[in-house]
Symmetry: C2
Subunit: 611 residues, 2 copies
């Protein structure tokens, strides 16, 4: 227990929840590491899609278009934050304005996306390390998983502490990238290769396909914009204003870094390579192979690992919203000891581990799965905002609606481009998963509703439940296998409940039964011992058959009460040594189809071992 406390910290009181709020500076670190870190791979994805031939001519225009798209979406979310100061995530906005259907669609897209963010960011971070230290190239998965463990621990410790740990490296990365860009732009002499200045005829269809594919790849830089909108409540007051300003700053920083890096990649005629990332190549061109280069790689790895961390605030928050509305198991809404949504954190970690192992830590294969979820949620959230303005009006509502409509349309076009150009590269997996999750949400929700209806006192007659139990001597059955202190305690309690007690033993091993009969005769018990045969060696079935038979005897007396001796070893792990007969009996009793729906009372008399 003290190790757990050392790693995760002391539990926090619920009253502390309100004080767990982030300043703008800290919030930028927490919420923007996802989107900012994507500059570490987005340019590379564009260059890979374009190929050597087209890179020089099209990389900058594509990056420019994406930056334009960025500001359309930032403007759109600026309005969302103001309209939804209590968590304006795509799920809430879409559900409230467009109905459950679109809300759940957005919700499933987002959950998938948060998971992919963790996997992509950890893999890309490991790649940054491997670029600097090529000898580690066989240990990418191990690097990813080790970092994941650290991220999970830091998140289980609670959000304020995370922000403190994480602010420094975010700003370190921003600073280093900006220095690299400024230094790289002005030091014109350091280009080592000459760019092949071929500008092919852009009118042909092939070129258009290549450009669209590169655009789709580059859009991975936009994943994570919405994290701020769904985390408004984590800001210090005035919450929505702080969130808006943070969002704007994030957009400006992202735009300059992304455009700057793409510019430098063109200037230095970088060609993507298997063994070294584009940003590592640029850094070598600008800084040489000295300390600053290693700092850059270190900072890149750090921000990518923090990006994984972003999902660990976003996913559990969204899961808790879904859980409160009963679309996923309600345990995801529970706060842990340190005021973090522990279940969501652990679940996300497991899913990400699975993805990293399946894709072997290869970020290039994960990225095509990535942008679909993001843009689905962009489209739905902004469409929801249009509906919102139409419903609620207010000052200049038509301008606001038009802006959101434009954002939604642009996102939709982008989404279609991404689906078209990435379908066979893995996007189909996500297009399959979204409806599966969607249906699961619906099913879970309907199930909770049905449960509530059945348990509700208003439905059906509860008269029999309010009348006191009059029967002084209910039927009682005690399963025994041999006579020891545990059995004695059970028989004793059974005798105190009723005069109609039967001890029942199932004959699996004749020797055991003979021994039991001998002991039984030597003791002076008031109840009969019933022996049941079991030709198929099952302990459970003969017992259940006997029990059902008892139930049918005087049905007006209710079902037979089962008094079960159970055995509790001193330490939990020691349970593997014992046959868990009590648990097996109970599970069988509760989950087998039964004739009558009446409640069966099960009394457990645990014998706690002292050793």
């Amino acid at each position: 227990m003290s190790l757990v406390k050392f790693v995760f910290g002391d539990p926090l009181k619920t009253e502390n929840l309100a004080s767990e709020r982030l300043t703008k500076v800290k919030a930028l670190a927490i919420f923007s590491s996802d989107i900012l870190s994507s500059v570490a791979y987005a340019t590379e994805e564009i260059l890979l899609a374009l190929g050597v031939l087209f890179s020089c001519a099209f990389s900058l225009p594509i990056a420019g278009t994406i930056v334009g798209l960025l500001f359309v979406i930032v403007a759109s979310y600026w309005q969302t934050i103001e309209a939804y100061p209590n968590s304006g995530g795509a799920f809430v906005v879409a559900k409230e304005n467009l109905g459950e259907f679109f809300g759940l669609l957005a919700g499933s897209a987002l959950l998938i996306d948060y998971t992919l963010t963790v996997a992509v960011s950890l893999s890309a971070g490991a790649n940054a390390i491997v670029s600097a230290f090529p000898s580690l190239s066989n240990h990418i998965v191990a690097i990813c998983l080790s970092v994941l463990v650290l991220v999970v621990i830091s998140n289980l410790r609670g959000s304020r502490e995370s922000a403190n740990i994480l602010s420094i490296p975010t700003y370190f990365f921003i600073g280093l990238v900006l220095i690299m860009i400024v230094y790289g732009v002005f030091s014109s002499g350091s280009a080592t290769k000459i760019a092949p200045k071929i500008a092919p005829d852009a009118s042909s269809l092939l070129v258009l396909v290549v450009i669209l594919r590169a655009f789709a790849s580059g859009c991975s830089v936009l994943t994570g914009i919405d994290t701020i909108a769904s985390g408004v409540t984590a800001f210090k007051k005035p919450q929505y204003k702080n969130a808006q300003i943070t969002l704007l700053f994030m957009g400006i920083i992202l735009a300059s870094m992304f455009f700057g890096i793409t510019f430098l990649s063109r200037k230095f005629a970088i060609i993507p390579s298997e063994s070294e990332t584009v940003i590592s190549q640029i850094a070598k061109n600008v800084f040489g192979s000295g300390a600053l280069y290693y700092c850059m790689q270190f900072a890149t790895a750090c921000i990518l690992f923090l990006a994984a961390n972003t999902s660990f605030s976003g996913f559990p928050r969204l899961a808790s919203i879904l859980a409160k509305e009963k679309y996923i198991p309600t345990r995801f809404a529970k706060l842990g000891d340190r005021l973090a949504f522990s279940n969501g954190i652990i679940f996300l970690a497991l899913m990400a581990t699975f993805l990293i192992i399946i894709f072997n830590g290869d970020s290039h294969s994960l990225i095509p799965l990535y942008s679909i979820g993001v843009f689905t949620s962009f489209v739905l959230s902004q469409a929801g905002m249009v509906k919102h303005w139409i419903k609620n009006r207010g000052n200049n509502w038509y301008i606001k609606a038009a802006l959101n409509a434009f954002g939604s349309l642009v996102s939709l076009i982008t989404l279609l481009i991404i689906i078209d150009s990435k379908f066979t590269h893995g996007a189909w997996i996500v297009l399959l998963l979204i409806p599966i999750l969607f249906c699961a949400f619906r099913k879970v929700n309907r199930r909770y509703a049905a449960t509530n209806t059945e348990l509700d006192l208003k439905n059906g007659s509860i008269g029999c439940l309010l009348r006191p139990i009059k029967n002084a001597h209910p039927k009682v059955v005690v399963p025994v296998s041999r006579i020891h202190k545990g059995t004695l305690a059970a028989l004793r309690f059974a005798a105190s409940l009723s005069n109609d007690v039967q001890a029942v033993a199932v004959n699996i091993d004749q020797k055991e039964i003979d021994r039991l009969k001998l002991t039984w005769r030597s003791m002076d018990f008031s109840m009969p011992l019933v022996l049941l045969n079991s030709p198929y060696r099952s302990v459970v079935n003969p017992f259940l058959d006997f029990l059902y038979e008892q139930d049918e005897r005087n049905p007006e007396n209710g079902k037979a009460i089962v008094v079960m001796p159970s055995f509790v070893p001193g330490k939990f792990w020691q349970n593997i040594l014992h046959n868990q007969t009590a648990t097996i009996f109970k599970t069988a009793l509760l989950y087998r189809k039964q004739k009558s729906e009446q409640t069966r009372i099960i009394v457990e008399i645990p014998y706690q071992m002292r050793i």
Copy 2:
């Protein structure tokens, strides 16, 4: 359920156990596929260890030595079978004659070995397939695991049915190999390469090391001899005679196949290759690339898969013996529906899966781990036999003792050679595992003994357990969260038990509590509702604290009885939707350290959902 029945067959009655016996012919198929199949890789291991330079000169002498060793061990086990007609496995023989220490040593060596047999045989079988169809070379692990599933199913169906399925391919393999040897020996013209007839100076130390290493590698052909000795009870009567004859036949067949294949490998100057097994190369030389070659590869793969199957009779049998003597959890002694030791079968399958995945289906890396366990058990079992003859005497006991002593000594020397030459190749893993398992066995055994002592009626006072419970109004506590039909049923039963009932709710969510209070007031309950605060959001801790406080009130009345409403959804999987509060409470109640050792009575009132 009907799918399960279709796959695994109808359950068998215990009375059928006696008729599940094997004829000699079937027993040879069941018990000898392990040892016979090892000819598929043993020659290859010798050639690999010798290298091209020494192969020609030493492969035959080494094979000859190993065949000699084989017959020493066969003679030794011949005597064991006669002396121990009820399962003369190394564990039983060593434990009975040399004491628990050596018995458990043999037991751990054997369990490890059975597991390795499965992994090695499946991997080697997959290699045989891949040799014939090189395009499958990336799917070795998948092939191994698919076959494993089939083997597990066939074993869970019970032993007689297995023998029927498995007899044909064993004899098919034996026949084909013998045909190949005869045909290969006499068709002198078909050698494609000329053997480099270099006979290096054998006096140098290096050569000795190489020879010993090759000998150690070749000894993998002897793994599995003891399976018959530990499976004597599975034979038809007269059991021990049938077993002896089967053992002798097995030895003769093995010797001819192993020596023949090694001879052919020398004749055709086979050089081991990564992509093709030695036996596949020989078969190509003898049969060409026609149908007979593919038959040979198919037969090799089959016998290797059956070898994996051998362990599925050996391992569960040994595990059941260990379980009956309480060295491992007793559930391993339980017969399943089809009179097979299901738990042992499933456990073995899991361990083998783990090994195959870890070693990526590479039999060459698994084999060095392999022989240590076997020879450890050979040494101990034969040493045990020497002791047995000294104790029991009988006709010519000194000759028998001398034979076993010779076998033990030879095995010990072989074991030392294997440890010395294979230590760094993976043998250290086994040398580490054997003592770990050994200690685990001891610990489990001591634990069972301690449990028995504590539960026994003879130890300590049981007077209080025999006196009837006089207290008419025990303290009863009912945890509630909200009032629904389930809670009502629990409160109703609690009221029938005592007048001293308290309903307890833990305040996690103020809204829930307000709603609860409102409902409580509207109903007309006789018991008070106690509200507990929980600053750290734990439901369990405040409740336990309250309970302990109640226990201390009038301690002579015993511990407070907990009546717990629990919730049973219609289907088992639906439990993930509910918070399992009842289970969490119970676990906390039972496993937390408590002041008093008295039994706490826990009554569960399950509410079974109709939907």
